[in-house]
Amino acid sequence: MSSNKFWRSLIYITLLVFAAFYLLPIYVMLTTSFKSVDEIRTGHILSWPNVFTTDAWGKAWFDACIGISCEGINKYFWNSVKMVIPAVLLSTLPGAFNGYVLTKWRFPGHNIVFGLLLFSCFIPFQIVLIPTATVLGKLGIADSTLGLILVHMAYGLGFTTLFFRNFYQAFPDELVRAARIDGAGFFTIFWRIMLPSSGPIIAISVIWQFTNIWNDFLFGASFTSGANSPITVALNNLANSSTGAKEYNVDMAAAIYAALPTLVAYVFAGKYFIKGLLAGSVKG
């Protein structure tokens, strides 16, 4: 075997070993969720299920106990759905307009505005938890999905504006200028010229916001409790509860339910997901 072939085999083996490492938790989650409680007790975590059963999936969805309520996680899943859709739309649309203004309708001080928005993306949210909780209480929307929508919109605007700003910056100014000379106004230019070419950045922004908001735990845990919690909070309550016999198969099925929407988004729009990650990090 030539030395080149040897190195190439080594590279392939390393790559495959790491693929196994990354797949391990999802393998454990999936196989465990299809086992019975008895099989979990007698077998071990890496074993393949002897008998496939979907009992845990049914129980996690309909009957699992979150706190004192034993109605499964479906309610919390829908809480998250009802939160994520409006929050994504309400943060993406203003982000598009803001990016348009910050690149094509510049005004004195536009870079100060940009700096303020950029910094807002990096704050540790601990610094705003107490005032946000107080204000949500004053507005009468504490412990509600509406409150979470507002919060996710507010703290998502920085990122969405950034995405669109960076995208529109590369958009030729001449086209906008020509349209203005032809008498097209602010909104006409946006709807007719900018928006039709914004497909990729809309996808990136929507997927980014969707993933972040669906996966959020801190805001959900801080501003809601009990029946109004999003899925992440319910999952944590389920998996960390110490009452009764631990049913790991139910925990794992619940975890997969919680992971499914973002995983599906990743499978079908992975390209935009990765671009969003890179855009959110590489180029502020």
């Binding site: 190195w7 590279i11 392939y12 390393t14 790559l15 790491f18 693929a19 990354y22 938790p25 999802i26 454990v28 077998g43 975590i45 890496l46 803001n98 203004v101 910050l102 005004f107 870079n111 505005v113 700096g115 950029l118 910094f119 807002s120 990096f122 540790p124 601990q126 610094i127 705003v128 938890l129 107490i130 107080t134 919060v151 919109m153 507010a154 920085g158 106004g185 602010f186 909104f187 669906w214 735990f217 801080s222 992440t232 999952l235 944590n236 925990d251 794992m252 919680a258 992971a259 973002t262 995983l263 988004a265 990743y266 992975g270 997901f273 990765i274 990650l277 990090s281 590489v282 502020g284």
Partner: protein, 289 residues
């Protein structure tokens, strides 16, 4: 008239966002800072006590544990993620036929919530039910891996799970950096007789500086904010051995009703992040002006 409207229209469109950001971000930061100088407990109260809460904060053993853990966790998390990410990116960049299959496998953890991955890892690392038990089943009776229930080692399990979650993403950053490397320079180095390792060591890796910078900055940011993973994996335990600043802030504010102490810890967290990011943001804004 129409012209005048056109001139203020952009500002009108931008203003709702600016109002929201100024209130929800900047006014709230000031508000939390003010609270840190009061004696608020379960609810905000506005009688001022100077630096008392900061002095108290730095005398709480839990806070020291949180800071110590941050200093253990952050360097390990960043260095291991960068080493794994860079190595995998270099390997994947060798015209690997299965790249299209491998890359999405490396990256999917980033799509998962830390609560989901924490739940899975907690079970996998639990000696009674997880890996240790599986090894005993395979006949390796002396195998022990009980870090998660060992208060001296539990913080390292947070490192393992966090590296699992983000090293694939670091790989993607480096891979996109590698794909942007100037081919001509690499070719001429090879013609000059440089071998594989030297080409990477002296020609390619030095060109990846921006990728290093963004990987480190995003990992640092994730490290300082890390909350969800710790809660799901160890719930800051055993005892309080995996306390981090973010979990400290939450438990003092909401569970222990020490709002002023919680605020002071949040201010410290913000200042730490700001000292890293303000220069970065300043250069971004200046470059784009």
């Amino acid at each position: 008239m129409k012209k005048r409207i056109q001139n203020i229209l952009p500002l009108l469109v931008l203003s709702p966002t600016m109002v929201i950001i100024l209130v929800f971000v900047y006014a709230f930061i000031v508000w939390t800072a003010i609270l840190s100088f009061t004696n608020s407990t379960i609810l905000p109260r506005y009688s001022f006590v100077g630096w008392t809460q900061y002095i108290k904060l730095w005398s709480i053993p839990n806070w020291y544990t949180a800071i110590k853990n941050l200093f253990i966790f952050t360097p390990l998390y960043i260095s291991i993620s960068v080493v794994i990410g860079l190595s995998l990116a270099i390997f994947l960049d060798q015209k690997i036929r299965i790249e299209g299959v491998i890359r999405p496998i490396y990256l999917y953890p980033m799509a998962l919530s830390f609560i989901v991955s924490g739940t899975a890892w907690k079970w996998f690392l639990n000696p009674g039910t997880g890996l240790e038990n599986a090894m005993h089943n395979f006949g390796w009776e002396s195998f022990t891996f009980d870090w998660i229930i060992n208060s001296d080692k539990a913080i390292y399990t947070v490192v393992i799970a966090a590296v699992w979650q983000s090293s694939g993403f670091v790989m993607a950053i480096f891979l996109s950096g590698l794909r942007g490397v100037n081919d001509e320079v690499v070719k001429s180095a090879k013609i000059d007789g440089a071998g594989f390792f030297n080409v990477y060591r002296y020609v390619i890796i030095p060109q990846l500086k921006p990728a290093f910078a963004s990987a480190v900055i995003i990992l640092l940011h994730l490290a300082i904010k890390s909350y969800d993973l710790v809660i799901a994996l160890t719930n800051a335990g055993p005892g309080n051995s995996t306390e981090m600043p973010a979990t400290f802030m939450y438990s003092y504010t909401f569970a222990r009703s020490q709002m002023a102490i919680g605020s002071a810890s949040a201010v410290v967290m913000l200042l730490t992040i700001a000292s890293i990011f303000v220069p970065y943001i300043y250069s971004e804004v200046k470059n784009s002006a």
